[in-house]
């Protein structure tokens, strides 16, 4: 047995033990390497891939929305945002001071916006400005090299070229909500996506959205992009052509804004449709808002201002609000009277200025009375007593059936969210609603549109279009959808005949033409040179008369003022366009709403080459109509 020199140790003892220990340790390492690199290799390689390959979605550009003549109403433009990556900032103080000067803002404000993120958050860009204007962009770009960690980035931003002019129709964008993410048809959306939240932007979301692409990017441990591995380009969303006519929409807008200096614009709504096919040419709701505010994420101050506004500018009054129709309802009653044989063209009633029924007295708006009145005069001068007299004979249920055939009391099918149905009362409805029978006295009020009846402005336009054509047509807003796969025309609107024969309707139309065109009519304000216009005014009482009795109109608080209605179509003998105008607290149908309808009709026929452009009238053209004229 050999010994380690001078140590008295047998080498085959301790040294071999040591060698064996070494061998054992390295054998364990080899086994472990085998386990990791051979057995688990695939799984760990996949984990490595997940570490470094990031799949990014490339958002498609949202499609344009254009009017019937191709004028762009909403498009997606490139906005430049200014980002700061905190980890890349050198000399923070200098950078922020320089940025503040370039952006004309306070350095402290910028510092506060970026904050002091820690950990991995330091590598994430912080958005300092969402939409740089050209000057700011040019300044920042010029000094970019002196500003490490500062970068500009293009991002899509929805832009509504005419601002608030058709805000309620076009709608708004917003970040997808949690409850939406859970719904089936948002299955391929993710948190943080911007989607159409209201109006057509919401209804047409599937068409406008396009198809997103994607790419795989290799990133390093800090999340920086190193290399693009592959990419599928996104597909731009469809271009949607609306039925709206921007010129007419503007005319309606101008009419609502044509007020004496210092007064707020009128409130209410105007709807114009093509009588022949239901195309919606105008849909305006006032007060309105700027949908651009929502595009980049609305700030809380603007949001509070909009939702806290007592007049609720976010509401689309054209379809979401219904109001008592007042005398605009009389033409429907007239059609029903004729159809049910209660009256003919020559039937007369005597109007002494009031009507006694069931121990109560119902007044005509004209205190001194209209005298002997036939249907033509009753419509032209809006005689209440005529309709009281014969309405009672007709009965509420026959009236209701015919009114419904004009599209009243039901959604028009316009396809926008939140459409109100309005209300056409009947004895069955009252029983259901109040558990009470219908009293004939209620028919008296209903005959002049002051009972339970409620219309939305679009229902007024649609029902008047039905008087004009004899067909109840479903209004539509979208003409066609153009995508890379082709043009998809929307099917023509459904229409069905109303429950009134054409000769009876012709009689009603004649009366309506007299309203505008003949002396003594209540709608003279809607005359358009060169074109015969048919129409009907309406005033809906907001509070009982005794609240405002004896007050000068201008002294009545706005909230207590009557609503003004005006429905019209033209040309009277071959109707093309029907208009429904509602002016909230506008006092009188004739003076409050009539001029709005006039502006829309005039513009329409001017474009058709049927009437000369209107002369600008200087000075305040407004005349106070005598109180109570309807």
């Amino acid at each position: 047995m050999s010994h380690l020199a001078g140590t008295d140790l047998p080498i085959d003892g301790r040294l071999r033990l040591f060698a064996a220990l070494l061998g054992a340790a390295f054998a364990i390492f080899e086994l472990r390497l085998f386990q990791l690199q051979i057995v688990d290799a695939d799984e760990l390689r996949e984990q490595a891939l997940r570490n470094s390959v990031r799949t990014e979605r490339l958002d498609a550009q949202r499609g344009e929305i254009v009017d019937r003549e191709g004028r762009v109403l909403a498009k997606t433009r490139s906005a430049f945002e200014l980002d700061v990556v905190p980890s890349d900032l050198q000399r923070r103080d200098v950078t922020f001071a320089a940025l503040a000067q370039l952006l004309e803002r306070e350095p402290a404000e910028l510092v506060a916006q970026v904050g002091n993120p820690r950990g991995i958050a330091r590598f994430r860009p912080v958005r300092l400005v969402g939409d740089l204007d050209e000057v700011q962009l040019a300044r920042v770009e010029t000094h970019r090299f002196a500003l490490p960690g500062v970068s500009t980035r293009v991002r899509p931003l929805r832009h509504y070229l005419d601002g608030s002019i058709a805000a309620h129709v076009l709608g708004t964008l917003g970040e997808i909500r949690g409850d939406q993410l859970e719904q089936e048809h948002f299955a391929d959306y993710r948190s943080g996506d911007i989607i159409g939240q209201t109006g057509l932007e919401s209804i047409l979301e599937p068409q406008l959205r396009g198809r997103s692409g994607g790419r795989n990017v290799m990133v390093d441990a800090a999340g920086r992009e190193v290399q693009v591995l592959d990419e599928i380009a996104p597909e731009t969303g469809s271009r949607v052509v609306l039925t709206l006519d921007l010129d007419l929409q503007r005319a309606a807008w101008d009419a609502f804004h044509d007020v004496p200096e210092g007064e707020p614009p009128k409130m209410g709504s105007a709807v114009a449709i093509d009588v022949r096919n239901g195309d919606v040419l105008v849909m305006l709701s006032q007060p309105t808002f700027d949908p651009n505010l929502f595009s980049g994420g609305i700030d809380s101050a603007s949001w509070k201002a909009l939702t806290g506004d007592e007049w609720d500018p976010l509401r689309n009054r054209a379809i979401q609000n219904h109001y008592p129709p007042g005398s605009t309802h009389k033409v429907i009653v007239a059609a029903a009277l004729l159809q049910e044989g209660v009256v003919d063209a020559h039937s007369r009633a005597f109007c002494p200025g009031f009507f006694r029924f069931g121990g109560r007295t119902y007044r005509c708006w004209k205190r001194e009375g209209h005298g002997s009145v036939d249907m033509h005069k009753a419509i032209q001068q809006s005689c209440d007593v005529y309709f009281y007299t014969f309405g009672v004979q007709l009965g509420i249920d026959k009236l209701a059936n015919i009114a419904k055939s004009f599209g009243l009391g039901q959604a028009t099918g316009i396809g926008l969210a939140g459409e109100a149905t309005g209300l056409v009362p009947s004895s069955e409805w009252k029983q259901r609603r109040f558990g009470e029978r219908w009293y004939p006295g209620e028919t008296v009020s209903a005959a002049i549109g002051q009972g339970y009846n409620l219309y939305t402005p679009i229902q007024l336009a649609v029902s008047y279009a039905a008087i004009a054509s004899g067909q109840l047509v479903e209004p539509r807003l979208v003409q066609r959808v153009e995508s890379s796969e082709g043009v998809k025309e929307m099917p023509p609107s459904q229409s069905k005949p109303v429950a009134v024969s054409p000769e009876h309707l012709a009689l009603v139309r004649r009366g309506m033409t007299a309203v505008v065109e003949e002396p003594g009519g209540t709608g003279g304000r809607a005359r358009v040179p060169g074109v015969k216009v048919a129409g009907k005014t309406g005033t809906a009482q907001v509070v009982q008369l005794q609240h405002t009795e004896g007050m000068k109109e201008t002294d009545i608080p706005i909230r207590y003022r009557d609503h003004a209605w005006f429905g019209a179509f033209a040309p009277a003998d071959a109707p093309e366009i029907a208009v429904g105008v509602f002016v909230e607290h506008g006092l009188h149908g004739s003076s409050g709403a009539g001029p709005v309808a006039q502006r829309i009709l005039a513009r329409y026929f001017e474009k058709r080459g049927m009437t000369p452009p209107p002369k600008q009238v200087a000075g305040p053209a407004r005349q106070e109509a005598p109180r109570g004229v309807d």
Binding site: G6, L9, F18, L22, E43, L44, N51, D220
Partner: protein
């Protein structure tokens, strides 16, 4: 310097020389891969510094080879005390980096004297065991002398708050326990003392993050983003190397810098990712060959000092290598111990090359009396 016997060069240990320089070459190539991603086309700074350390190490190796190691037995106490003084000087001169004072910095030069303290320790231990052959040490109290020698450097390193290196130094000294003849009772006492020390360390010695590392080792998913992160990323890098590796300079984990301290403590996982099972096995075999050859040198040495010196050098390489590889492979907690000759670190490379030169020195003089 005394004239050098011609026979010395006839018996030069070319095998050991080749093994060592193969490992060094692998280390340099690996370091380049681990650092070039961040260097943007220039030669990485760490790589350049390591290259300089290797060059200095090569020169030191020549100097060490020229000196007959038996002469070093006489010089051992002086070298030991000198190394201790150098180590102690850090307590006064060194700036605090990463919570400890173990670096001497002069301009862009920095030195970790603890690495040299290990050499001093090995020389001193070899001298002690040469004079008191371990085969005759058969009582616990016989270990008092070597214990005192060991206590010097370990104590100083503890004062620097460099717990990892202190434990490592302790283990290097403890290597000699393999060779003493003490009764079972004594082993029980040593075992109990070790356990006691461990408990003491856990309670008083470890900082919170060190305790956390050990807990994270026992359950890496405890906190996958903190110290567990290193273990997980290292496992992924090693495993994704597969049989043949992702290719040199092509390991995604490495090149995208998912591995923390991939050039220093986790250098082995870079190698594992880029060279795979085959590459790892080659390096491990080279290591094992160096270590086993060291034992052969110890066996063949003609005097006790040479044997004990060789055993000390083996211990000096063995412990950090085993701890480092075990850590990279997820068999041990994350402890900041570099892999000798592979990890980035100039002092480590220099000290290990000097130690290996001592081994060659013993080997080439095995026929000289």
């Amino acid at each position: 310097m005394a004239s050098i016997d011609r026979r010395v060069f006839q018996h030069f240990d070319w095998l050991l020389f080749a093994l060592v320089w193969s490992v060094v070459a692998i280390g340099l190539a690996n370091l380049f891969s681990a650092t070039h991603a961040g260097a943007e086309g220039r030669l990485p700074t760490e790589f350049k510094r390591q290259l300089i350390a290797v060059a200095i190490g090569a020169s030191a190796m020549v100097v060490v080879l020229l000196i007959d190691y038996r002469r070093l037995e006489r010089w051992a106490p002086a070298l030991y005390v000198g190394a201790l003084l150098l180590t102690a000087s850090t307590l006064v001169l060194a700036p605090v980096t990463r919570g400890n004072r173990s670096w001497l910095v002069y301009g862009s030069l920095s030195l970790q004297p603890a690495e040299f303290a290990k050499i001093g320790l090995v020389l001193m231990m070899a001298r002690y065991f040469h004079r008191h052959p371990p085969g005759r040490l058969n009582r616990l109290r016989d270990l008092f002398g070597p214990g005192l020698i060991l206590a010097g450097p370990v104590g100083l390193i503890l004062l620097q708050h460099d717990l990892g290196v202190a434990v490592l130094t302790l283990l290097i000294g403890a290597t000699y326990l393999l060779f003493v003849r003490i009764p079972a009772r004594a082993w029980v006492v040593i075992g109990a003392a070790a356990l006691g020390a461990l408990a003491g360390l856990w309670t008083f010695g470890f900082k919170d993050h060190q305790r956390k590392r050990i807990l994270d080792f026992l359950d890496p998913t405890r906190d996958p983003l903190a110290s567990g992160y290193q273990a997980i990323q290292s496992r992924i890098a090693v495993g994704s190397g597969g049989l043949t590796g992702q290719g040199y300079l092509d390991g995604p984990q490495t090149q995208l810098q998912f591995l923390p301290t991939q050039h220093s403590d986790f250098a082995f996982s870079v190698l594992a990712e880029e060279w795979g099972f085959i590459g790892c096995s080659v390096l491990l075999m080279l290591y094992l060959s160096v270590l086993v050859w060291g034992l052969v040198v110890a066996n063949n040495s003609k005097d006790g000092f040479g044997s004990m010196l060789a055993i000390g050098v083996v211990g000096m390489l063995f412990w950090p290598a085993v701890i480092n590889v075990a850590m990279v492979l997820g068999l041990a907690p994350v402890i900041g111990v570099p892999l000798p000759l592979i990890s980035y670190g100039g002092t480590q490379v220099l000290a290990n090359l000097i130690a290996l030169a001592l081994l060659m020195n013993v080997s080439m003089r095995r026929y000289i009396f």
